[in-house]
Amino acid sequence: MIRIYVHPLPVRIWHWVNAAACVMLVLTGIQIRYVGLVNVVSFRTAVVAHNWIGVVLIANFFVWFFFYLFSDKIRVYHPELNAVKQFHAAVRQLIYYGYGIFKGDPNPHHVSAYRKFNPLQSMTYQIIMLLVLPIQFITGILLWNLTRFAGIVAFFGGVRVVDTVHVLIFISFVFYILVHAYLGTLGRTPLDYFKAMFTGYEDIEEG
């Protein structure tokens, strides 16, 4: 068993702030959208909290963005530049989660300092961080002050269109957060990946 340093401090800070903010945004979002069904805090409190947490999430995004942009760690997202190979590796990983894991097959992905993500993770995280989250930021900012951004909102088809996109991403995040947390238990032990996200070190079997 060897320990390798896979999660630098800025990434760990970003990750947990991101996780907390996302969960809080989902919860306040549920309160905002389902007043009457959910009555934990007032609508106004939920809106104000949602707005401020959104600001934190956006600021935190740039911690992630600039850390990877200005460090060689960006390689963790592209250990394999051949798209075909990357695709085949992603399919292998999917087959493992969908079938092999039940039979006790070994995980086809082997973690190293610059290969900490399996191909599915790498692909999913990039879609989320470079596409989904920015769209959510933009729609959130537009909804935050619809009067100021009235022209842009109208360009996109109106507040209902902007809100629908925002809510669709919110819905997908609800699903993602639950599945992501579960996948986090599929390490050598159920808590391995969680511990690694706090300590930065991951224990891997030699050979």
């Binding site: 959208r33 069904l37 104000v48 009067t147 209902r160 809100d163 819905i171």
Partner: protein, 445 residues
């Protein structure tokens, strides 16, 4: 032929009475040599001659349509009115005193005569007349409305006193809009005004004096309110998220008349002209709804509304037809029942929740020929249907008008997010148990 008679009946002075009265009075005085009433001493000799006849209660004329027109002009009242200074012939220039009576005009109806005499007012009051021509009152007159007010409807020509329209007791609007005035009088504005606060608005402050408009049209009411309540946006912004948006999409009485019924008004606009689209003709689904100012609550469903917009936008016209939504109170009466700020609705939950009363009534508004909006009923589902995402993209209240389809997706995502890990975990456990009991299967792999 109209007949002139004297009877014991008394009537209210009017322009019509004046017109006829002037003629009759001059001739009667000339022939009979009657003296004028002592109370009208401020008037000229000629006016006093007129009042010799027309100052007598009971003088009246039978019109072509069978109605009776009083020609009685109370001398004192006329002398004290602002028109006393110009005298009878100041307005009744068509009367030839040399031949009146017996010469007399034929009058078909009071309305026709009053409509014709409006042009006399224009001679001196051209500015006010020009404003009136732009008003909703004038638009109704042009439409042929037989009770829409002319000059003399509000300003009794033989008794007009300066400032009468600025007094709650004499403001002429309440003659026709009595129920609304009663609501106003009991409102915070009316109570303050009757208490002596002249800064509190009376009818003309919000609706204009001669260029009378429907204050509720579009954001008109908001602008009217902000005309006095200049700090309203700043004060609302201290506690109300997206205050400016609320000002644009929610009319002030929606919150400041807490007991009012509310209605979402979806107005069809042309994006190029930025004006309300006239009633779309030739679209059967729309025409069959029988639009009226008191629209029924059922009507356009979400799919029909979407089709309607597509049809309108497929026509070869400049600009795109878009829908702007606005939450308003249901009746003009409720618009005037404003209460003090401390009793206004400030609880967001009143509207931002499923089933909120504010979103149970929906109306589609188009421009009517007189400028008065025509409203068509729509089903409340247009606010929560996925079909409406594009068609009424401009109106949305979080929680209150949320799209049902997205709620279904949310529940599926939540259940899927729980079921998938649980299912996966269960399968892992089941396989592990199976393989531990069947080591040969394990070895095979």
């Amino acid at each position: 032929m109209a007949k002139l008679t004297l009877s014991g009946r008394t009537g209210r002075g009017s322009f019509v009475a004046g017109a006829i009265g002037g003629v009759v009075a001059a001739v009667v005085l000339a022939l009979a040599g009657m003296s004028m009433p002592a109370s009208a001493g401020a008037l000229s000799d000629g006016d006093q001659q007129c009042l010799g006849c027309h100052g007598s209660p009971g003088i009246e004329k039978h019109l072509e349509d069978g109605e009776t027109l009083s020609l009685h002009i109370p001398g004192n009242t006329f002398a004290q009115s602002v028109h006393g200074a110009i005298g009878c012939t100041g307005c009744h220039t068509d009367i030839n005193l040399a031949s009146h009576p017996p010469a007399k005009n034929t009058i078909d109806t009071k309305r026709k005569f009053s409509t014709a005499m409006v042009q006399v007012c224009r001679n001196c009051h051209s500015e006010q007349f020009g404003q009136w021509e732009q008003s909703v009152h004038a638009a109704l007159v042009k439409e042929g409305n037989s009770v829409a007010p002319l000059c003399t409807s509000c300003h009794s020509p033989h008794a007009v006193i300066k400032g009468a329209a600025e007094d709650m007791d004499t403001v002429p609007c309440k003659t026709c809009h009595g129920d609304i005035f009663t609501a106003y009088a009991a409102s915070v504005h009316g109570v303050l005004r009757s208490g002596g606060l002249t800064a509190a608005p009376l009818c003309f402050n919000c609706h204009g004096a001669h260029d009378v408009s429907v204050a509720s049209a579009g954001v008109g009411r908001r602008d009217v309110c902000l005309g006095c309540h200049t700090e309203a946006l700043a004060s609302h912004s201290t506690w109300l998220p997206n205050a400016q948006l609320h000002f644009n999409a929610v009319s002030c009485p929606v919150c400041h008349t807490p007991q009012a019924q509310r209605v979402v008004v979806l107005t069809l606009y042309n994006s190029a002209t930025q004006k309300e689209v006239p009633g779309p003709a030739g679209i059967p689904e729309f025409e069959s709804l029988n639009g009226s100012p008191t629209a029924t609550r059922t009507g356009l469903d979400p799919a029909t509304l979407m089709t309607l917009l597509k049809t309108l936008n497929s026509k070869d016209v400049e600009g795109k037809t878009i829908i702007r939504g606005r939450l308003e109170v249901r009746t003009g009466l409720e618009d005037h029942e404003l209460t003090v700020a401390s009793k206004a609705i400030s609880d967001c939950n009143v509207c931002h929740r499923e089933g909120a009363a504010a979103f149970q009534s929906v109306e589609i508004s188009v421009a009517g020929p007189s400028g008065m909006p025509i409203r068509y009923g729509a089903s409340k589902e247009v606010l929560s249907s996925a079909f409406s995402i594009d068609s009424i993209g401009g109106f949305y209240a979080i929680g209150g008008t949320r799209i049902t389809f997205l709620d279904v997706l949310f529940v599926l995502a939540l259940l899927g997010g729980i079921a998938l890990p649980l299912g996966h975990l269960t399968l892992r456990w089941a396989f592990k148990r199976y393989l531990s009991r069947n080591p040969r299967q394990k070895r095979k792999r």
